[in-house]
């Protein structure tokens, strides 16, 4: 798409994009290039010996049960986070959309968690579910559930999911509500006149019309679960117990900065970048399709 009216200058447009390009090159292309370069090297912890090893780092990774386990944990974690965050938000948005009185107040009361940092969300949930002093942990124990996420990997993962979902609901809610309000009321009314009840109307009219929003949010939520939850993991479990909650992005950090395996960590970065770029392309195709119709 081009503007009909435009300005002419030999140098000005270059000067205008220069700051953004400089930052993009220094902080994106240079590090990405470094990651690619390092991913084919093996370096000892002191950086004294560097050796070219080709795809050895990748081969080691894909033969490492720890890395494959981390992939599995990440997959389970992202599906749970995206599923619950979308489901709960849609549920709340559908009911909030019906309300006539107090709608603005309700919206305000539901969107503020967007402002909470993932790390802070982690700390709040850690406090509630702390095995020795957490209030909810106490209730659970009294209800007969033996709660100790420091020892039980399943409980640790579910705690992370709860904290991550809690933080993401408001974002999804804003989009679903906007999507619901954009659906023409005449469609719903026509269906009601034809005798469709609220349940039927939701599944055969509202839900299909919401699908662009849902798809967009699905991609955003998966990216969120993959990357933005780093802070939650670091604040709550640090990947433990053992490696049971060590999601991919946490492992990049752990292997690179704690275990000082730069080659392996760089190879992991490259794999993560590939995943994000694939998701971005998916998103772009979706955006273009939507603009066209």
């Amino acid at each position: 798409m081009e503007k009909r009216a435009f300005f002419r200058s030999r140098w000005l447009p270059y000067a205008l994009v220069a700051p953004q390009l400089a930052i993009t090159i220094i902080f994106f292309f240079w590090p990405a290039g470094q990651a690619l370069y390092q991913s084919v090297l093996i370096q000892d912890a002191f950086g004294a010996n560097v050796e070219f090893v080709g795809l050895e780092n990748f081969r080691v990774l894909f033969n490492d049960p720890g890395y494959l386990a981390s992939f599995r944990v990440t997959a389970v974690f992202s599906v749970l986070v995206a599923g619950f965050a979308l489901g709960i938000a849609l549920f709340l948005a559908v009911f909030a959309d019906r309300l006539l009185r107090g709608a603005a107040t309700i919206k305000t009361l539901l969107i503020w968690p967007y402002a909470v940092a993932p790390a802070i969300a982690g700390v709040l949930w850690l406090f509630m579910f702390n095995p020795t002093l957490g209030v909810v942990a106490h209730w659970l124990n009294r209800a007969g559930v033996h709660w100790d996420f420091l020892l039980n990997g399943r409980q640790a993962l579910s705690l992370l999911v709860m904290a991550a979902v809690w933080k993401q609901i408001s974002y999804n809610f804003v989009f679903f509500l906007a999507g619901l309000q954009a659906i023409p009321k005449s469609l719903i009314e026509a269906a009601a006149i034809d005798g469709a009840g609220p349940w039927r109307r939701f599944w055969s009219i509202v839900f299909p019309l919401l699908s662009p929003t849902t798809f967009f949010l699905l991609v955003v939520n998966i990216v969120y679960a993959f990357f933005d939850t780093f802070a939650i993991v670091d604040a709550v479990t640090q990947g433990g117990p053992g490696q049971e909650t060590s999601i991919l992005v946490y492992k990049v950090y752990h292997d690179g900065f704690k275990a000082l395996d730069f080659g392996g960590s760089a190879a992991q970065s490259v794999i993560l970048m590939t995943i994000v770029i694939a998701l971005t392309v998916l998103q772009f195709r979706f955006i273009e399709r939507k603009v066209n119709y």
Partner: protein
């Protein structure tokens, strides 16, 4: 509403209010904990009604800091976070306005190449390129500095994308009229385009301020001295290893303090913020 169904109205209010209560509970608990002594918080289960140390606890964390783990005063941390968040938001807005202007209002060789160079970074979070970015920053000697905290996070295309979308909707007649009247491109930019973009700038400011305030991994890596900790890192450093030794009342007070500034910005600028969020999607 389509039809009157009393039970459905009641159900709607019940569901939404239940949602609000459940979502608010963790923060309520934090607020309560921050008004008690550390011992009262540790007595499982702690009381669910406020104690009387509200002012004492907040005064202590803000100006003196905790006694265990990180001892930096939270007031200083908030200042670091504020500088970082404002720096990121303002920096992103400025470079994005300029590059979006160039991309929409000029035709020049390599334009599409530059466009894609910027846009490929759209969804690439700092998290996936931490190790190499860290090395780049330490080569440049920017560890433990504000430019080091701020600059790598300015490299994102979200704002450029939003402004490009908005500039596309500005009527061509405005640029033509400006040209006929003899205004150069920068004159057009400052006297027409920027004033028209005020709502979008406000929306972007909210989103990027929150993004900056909430950054975790990057500051975790490049800040090693206590006086450069943003509050989000500081709170993590207050939580030690064994849970018995933690001053949870002070940690929760810090958590509340960390939530207040971004929450205020979201609530005050709710209208623009929602518009901005939903527009970026388009």
């Amino acid at each position: 509403m389509v039809e009157k169904r009393r039970w459905l109205d009641v159900l709607s209010y019940a569901v939404v209010i239940a949602g609000i209560v459940v979502i608010a509970f963790p923060v309520y608990l934090a607020l309560i904990a921050s008004t008690h002594t550390a011992e009262a918080v540790e007595a499982a289960p702690m009381s669910l009604i406020p104690g009387d140390l509200l002012i004492d606890n907040y005064r202590k964390v803000l100006f003196e800091g905790g006694d265990i783990g990180s001892r930096a005063p939270v007031g200083r941390m908030m200042l670091v976070s504020l500088t970082m968040a404002v720096g990121i938001a303002v920096g992103k807005i400025i470079i994005s306005l300029l590059s979006a202007f160039a991309i929409v209002y000029f035709r020049f060789p390599l334009k599409h190449f530059f466009f894609w160079m910027i846009f490929i970074t759209l969804m690439l979070p700092v998290e996936v390129r931490i190790t190499p970015t860290y090395e780049v920053m330490s080569d440049l000697g920017l560890l433990n500095t504000f430019p080091g905290l701020i600059m790598p996070l300015i490299a994102s295309a979200t704002a450029t994308f939003l402004f490009r979308q908005f500039f596309m909707t500005v009527p061509d007649e405005l640029a033509e009229a400006a040209r006929i009247d003899g205004a150069g491109p920068m004159r057009f930019f400052f006297t027409i385009l920027v004033p028209l973009s005020v709502t979008n700038i406000a929306a972007m400011f909210v989103i990027q301020f929150i993004y900056g305030w909430n950054q975790y991994l990057w500051p975790l890596l490049i800040t090693t001295s206590e006086d450069m900790y943003p509050i989000v890192i500081g709170i993590k450093r207050m939580i030690g290893g064994g849970d018995a030794a933690n001053e949870w009342n002070l940690i929760m007070a810090t958590a509340i303090l960390a939530m207040i500034p971004p929450a205020i910005i979201v609530l005050l600028m709710q209208r623009w913020f929602i518009k901005g969020l939903v527009e970026t999607e388009k």
